[in-house]
């Protein structure tokens, strides 16, 4: 059995699970690698096992699909076709003489290293949230919309009693519904997109009746929980001293600016905010895969332009879990055939390819509708911290642009330190480019998410080496 080819799938979300199950069913051995303690990733995030949730589906949508994936995964693991490596944070994938070495660090501490070899890889690394800055966004109590959802689904906790859910994008609906169902008073759902914009996209929406029904279902549940939706509105400021106490929201005008006189204050202890998603492309970038803008470029078989490397799910473009599933399925099928020396016949997955096309069009329609207010940066005062790690303010970024002539993210970073902190610019980059008036480009980080903290910290301060060189210092394991 050892000479059967081995496929490494990185990411155990919808895309990675679908790829794993499809490839294993077609005769290759799979090593499924994910940073989390359990399969599921974002959309299918499961409560920690020790919480012994008897009804996790209460927090979920499309539970059936998850059950099918979970059962198939378990069966392949039992049969020895799939090895599932949990708590493995991949920081680099190397390609040498046509074979791959996946380098990972173990556990939340990320100290002990392991290497996994494979004949091919599927990158199913998903994405993370984009949040644009506004005054007060660094206050405790302000969390990303997905973060609130992840803490709810994974740890069964909520950040407070009264929440405002704000920003833009399809994620805000399940987040508001989830918080309300979990007993949080959702004072408002503040969405900068306009309902009218949806009507202009009716063709792509009508082609996805299931997806439209899903949206309607959320709307009905919002109504039931008495959550009011403020469309064409935005949060202009979060207030509080050491903790969030209220937000000010305002209506938007036709140009995406704030309509004067419409400001109102909503008391809350939680703001769950997000402005869309960005793909995780670091592993693909270090492998030398071509990107289309910010996403990994793939062909009809989900192959990147680097031989032996497939990519699927939100790493190849933000499109939601259903699209991630079909892409993962196709990637797994294609990889299985090619790894066993064959040439795949796309007819074999024609149904999946069709739904991929439809879901892709649907995602593009949503993407065109959900947009942050065009003039969001007008609300960002000079003293607003933009880079949360390095505490670089909007004023400093503006000065670098206006007085020092910085015209791209890299130069702004060198001049201001924005993006040089622990998160390596993942969080601040969209805000910085918006303020600087330049394009968001792939950042070419030397190591993928999550970078070993010790390695990063060492670059910043010699003093932090202690944490890294004395792993037995007493941290829980």
């Amino acid at each position: 059995m050892t000479d059967r080819p081995r496929l490494a799938v990185i990411g155990a979300g919808p895309a990675g699970l679908a790829a794993t199950v499809a490839a294993a069913a077609h005769g290759v051995r799979v090593t499924l690698i994910d940073a989390a303690a359990q399969a599921g990733a974002q959309f299918y995030r499961q409560p920690a096992a020790a919480l012994r949730a008897g009804r996790p589906q209460a927090l979920h949508h499309d539970w059936r699909t998850w059950q099918r994936l979970r059962e198939a995964l378990d069966a392949h693991v039992r049969a020895g076709a799939v090895e599932h490596l949990t708590d493995h944070h991949v920081w680099l994938v190397e390609r040498e003489s046509g074979r791959f070495t996946v380098h990972a660090l173990l556990g939340p501490e990320e100290e002990d290293a392991v290497a996994v070899s494979a004949d091919a890889v599927v990158l199913a690394t998903g994405g993370y949230e984009k949040v644009l800055p506004f005054p007060g966004w660094t206050l405790p109590g302000v969390v990303t919309a997905g973060g609130a959802q992840a803490m709810l689904k994974g740890a069964l906790v909520v950040p407070g009693r009264t929440a405002v859910v704000a920003g833009t994008g399809p994620l805000l609906l399940p987040v508001a519904v989830g918080l309300a169902a979990a007993g949080v008073k959702v004072a408002a759902l503040v969405e900068s997109a306009a309902p009218r914009a949806f009507l202009r996209r009716t063709r792509a929406l009508a082609a996805q009746p299931g997806k439209v029904a899903e949206g309607a279902g959320y709307a009905a549940r919002l109504l039931r929980h008495r959550v009011r939706t403020l469309a064409r509105h935005t949060v202009i400021e979060a207030h509080g001293i050491d903790r969030l106490e209220a937000v000010t929201v305002a209506a938007l005008d036709g140009e995406g600016g704030v309509r004067a006189g419409t400001e109102r204050r909503i008391p809350c202890d939680t703001l769950a905010v997000g402005h869309g998603m960005l793909p995780h492309t670091d592993l693909a970038e270090t492998l030398g895969c071509r990107l289309d803008g910010l996403r990994v470029h793939v062909d009809g078989e989900q192959r990147t332009d680097v031989p032996g490397v497939w990519a699927a799910g939100e790493a190849t473009g933000i499109g939601g879990s259903a699209l991630a599933l079909t892409e993962g399925h196709i990637a797994g099928r294609s990889a299985a055939v090619r790894l066993t020396g064959g040439t795949p016949d796309p007819q074999e997955w024609v149904a999946a390819a069709k739904s991929r096309t439809r879901l892709g069009e649907f995602a593009a329609a949503l993407d065109a509708v959900y947009a942050p207010p065009a003039n969001w940066s007008e609300q960002v005062t000079d003293d607003t911290v933009v880079c949360r790690c390095e505490e670089v303010t909007a004023g400093t970024v503006r000065e670098a642009v206006a007085q020092l002539g910085a015209g791209d993210l890299r130069t702004v970073k060198l001049l201001t330190r924005a993006g040089m902190g622990w998160c390596q610019g993942r969080i601040c980059a969209p805000g910085v480019v918006g303020l600087a008036g330049c394009e968001l480009t792939a950042s070419r980080r030397p190591f993928a998410r999550p970078v070993p903290l010790g390695v990063l910290a060492e670059e910043h301060s010699q003093s932090t080496t202690r944490a890294h060189t004395h792993p037995t210092d007493g941290g829980p394991s």
Binding site: R52, G147, W422, R449
Partner: protein, 100 residues
Amino acid sequence: MSSPLDLAGARPGPAFTVTFDGRDIEALPGQTVAAALWAAGITSWRTTRGEGRPRGVFCGIGVCFDCLVTVNDRPGQRACLLPLQPGDAIRTQEGTGHDD
């Protein structure tokens, strides 16, 4: 009023005690540091290096590093990822978490 634990029908094992800046708080088996602190009504456990501003969870998934915390004298751990063990001593992390 429903709670997330009720909603998901959770039946965790008995709670155990950990400390936050010396004071006892309860944690459930399976909870991360951030989860137990949120459940205890605590939303910040770090102050920034520059301005000394309070921070806690932001992204919730290990990407932003805003939730850094000191646990059992080890600074720089992501509270949103780290599971708790009985007796763990959680401390607010000031700056890098090192006394300098």
